[in-house]
């Protein structure tokens, strides 16, 4: 269920691979691998309840890649950069049920990578105990915890959104507000 995603304006040296797992039973183990900086577990494990859509997640991935390319990362690697508040808010928690996993494979002339998406898929299959699910907007929407997101992004005072009757339009407005807020975070 690992999907290789082509992002716009990303050099061919970088490839992005995403998988979704539901009903994950070993979130605590996965988090501990991250915290101990186990190089074999260099992934962005994200709590799916904090993800709105493909665009939301991939915006974060794109930003992390541009930061990595410019050589101005504030965290150890591109994966932790994806979620600037990784290990805390968006990162996996022991209690996390559903997980979105992102792997960015980077192959440079001076540091060629031999890893393939098959290797990544196999490794995840072995170590993530959960049900593979599609990386689709529908699936992600089902897993989103809006009360959490509204709190993180201070969206509760945004009255005009509440006035939008069409549910789809309302969700889209909220998605764009979150993406905007994310792009301004830390600046």
């Amino acid at each position: 269920m690992l999907e290789t995603v082509t992002l716009e304006h990303v050099p061919t040296s970088h490839s992005v691979h995403v998988a979704v797992f539901r009903n994950v039973t070993n979130a605590e183990f996965l988090q501990s691998q991250l915290l101990s900086r186990n190089a074999d577990f260099e992934y962005a494990f994200i709590d799916a309840s904090t993800v709105i859509s493909r665009f939301h997640l991939l915006s974060a991935v794109y930003k992390a890649i541009t930061v990595e390319l410019s050589g101005s990362m504030k965290t150890p690697n591109v994966h932790s950069e994806i979620i600037s508040e990784a290990y805390r808010r968006y990162g996996i928690q022991p209690s996390t049920k559903d997980v979105v996993v992102v792997k960015v494979l980077i192959s440079r002339d001076d540091a060629p990578s031999t890893a393939t998406s098959e290797d990544v898929a196999k490794h995840l299959e072995t170590h993530v105990q959960g049900d593979p699910a599609p990386f689709s907007d529908d699936e992600l929407a089902r897993l989103t915890d809006w009360s959490k997101l509204r709190k993180y992004h201070k969206l509760n005072g945004v009255n005009y959104v509440e006035g939008i009757k069409d549910e789809q339009t309302k969700k889209r407005e909220l998605e764009l507000l979150v993406v905007s807020a994310m792009s301004l975070r830390g600046l």
Binding site: L7, F55, L58, S70, T169, S180, S183
Partner: protein
């Protein structure tokens, strides 16, 4: 970055092909932003070029999502540290103002990404045409209609009147509020005023309001009022129906001073008069639309009278 300043250029110019060995940068040289040197499904196109930078139309994150990418390149003639600081400040200011507007429900482009170090701002692509194009299109169609009518009348009546064509003044006459078909134009002007009013209400002053910086976007699903249903770009442009979206916040600032708000209206009034001289007499409809949008609007309109008396710049005397 005044997209407004360019009155022509509806046709996007293809972006320059990245040169593998770029020449030394000069004042007149705008290199492509580094982000656009990487592969994308469609090549970026250059939309406008102003003194401060360029706007490209390109894709963002996924191939199906269009964006307007604003680039403020480094200025080689400016001290690098100062330049970086100024660019960063302007990019961030524009980004924060856009986000503030969106949180307040003012129709402006959504913010997709900010790279203040690279001088880049990625914004939601707004479909539709600038109000400038829509109003000029309406006036051109009116003229065409009147010319046809006049030609027909001449043909029907006597050939004798040809030459001293007295129908010509009607063809080029100024638009009046009570003429046939002016209702859609008046409605558009009212919505313009309301859009500016909502912007001011949210605590933002635009700084460069023109009919080029107001887009007429086809109604999005779920947002159209019961009487509006132009949901395609062409329908919106021809019927003047659609949602007004304010763009280009490069000169915008946060504030609620009546003076600044009045200057905003004054700049729009002057720009409107010179861009659409035939419709200049209808500008008060914009102000009517503005009047009802927030409590302080009448005070701003009063202030506008003062600003008109002295012009945009505040007097240094007294």
């Amino acid at each position: 970055m005044t997209a407004a300043a360019t009155t022509t250029a509806p046709q996007p110019i293809p972006a320059p092909v990245p040169d593998p060995s770029p020449p030394e940068p000069s004042i007149h040289d705008f290199p492509l932003p580094s982000a656009l040197l990487h592969p994308s499904s469609e090549p970026p196109t250059l939309i406008t070029q102003g003194a401060e930078g360029r706007v490209y139309r390109t894709t963002w994150v996924d191939a199906g999502r269009e964006c307007a990418l604003k680039h403020r390149p480094a200025k080689p003639y400016r001290h690098p540290v100062l330049d970086a600081r100024l660019t960063r400040h302007r990019i961030l200011s524009e980004a924060r103002i856009l986000q503030k507007c969106r949180r307040e429900g003012v129709a402006v482009p959504a913010l997709y990404g900010v790279d203040e170090a690279a001088g880049l701002l990625a914004l939601e692509w707004i479909p539709g045409a600038p109000v400038r194009v829509c109003v000029n299109g309406w006036i051109a169609r009116r003229k065409e209609r009147r010319r046809r009518l006049a030609d027909g009348a001449v043909g029907d009546e006597s050939k004798a009147q040809e030459g001293q064509d007295n129908s010509e003044p009607a063809v080029v006459a100024e638009v009046t509020a009570d003429e046939e078909g002016a209702d859609v134009l008046m409605d558009l002007l009212r919505r313009m005023g309301e859009a500016v009013g909502r912007l001011h209400k949210s605590g933002v002053v635009h700084g460069d309001l023109t009919t080029s910086n107001l887009m007429l976007r086809p109604w999005e699903k779920g947002k159209a009022p019961s009487n509006g249903h132009a949901e395609t770009e062409q329908a919106a442009e021809e019927s003047l129906d659609g949602e007004i979206v304010i763009i280009d916040f490069g000169l915008a600032s946060q504030g609620t001073a009546d003076e600044d708000r009045a200057v905003d209206l004054y700049v729009l009034e002057r720009a409107f008069g010179s861009t659409h001289p035939k419709a200049e007499g209808l500008f008060p409809v914009v102000l009517d639309g503005y009047r009802g949008t927030f409590k302080g609007a009448p005070v701003v309109l009063k202030k506008l009278e003062d600003v008109r008396m002295r012009g945009r710049k505040r007097s240094m005397l007294g």
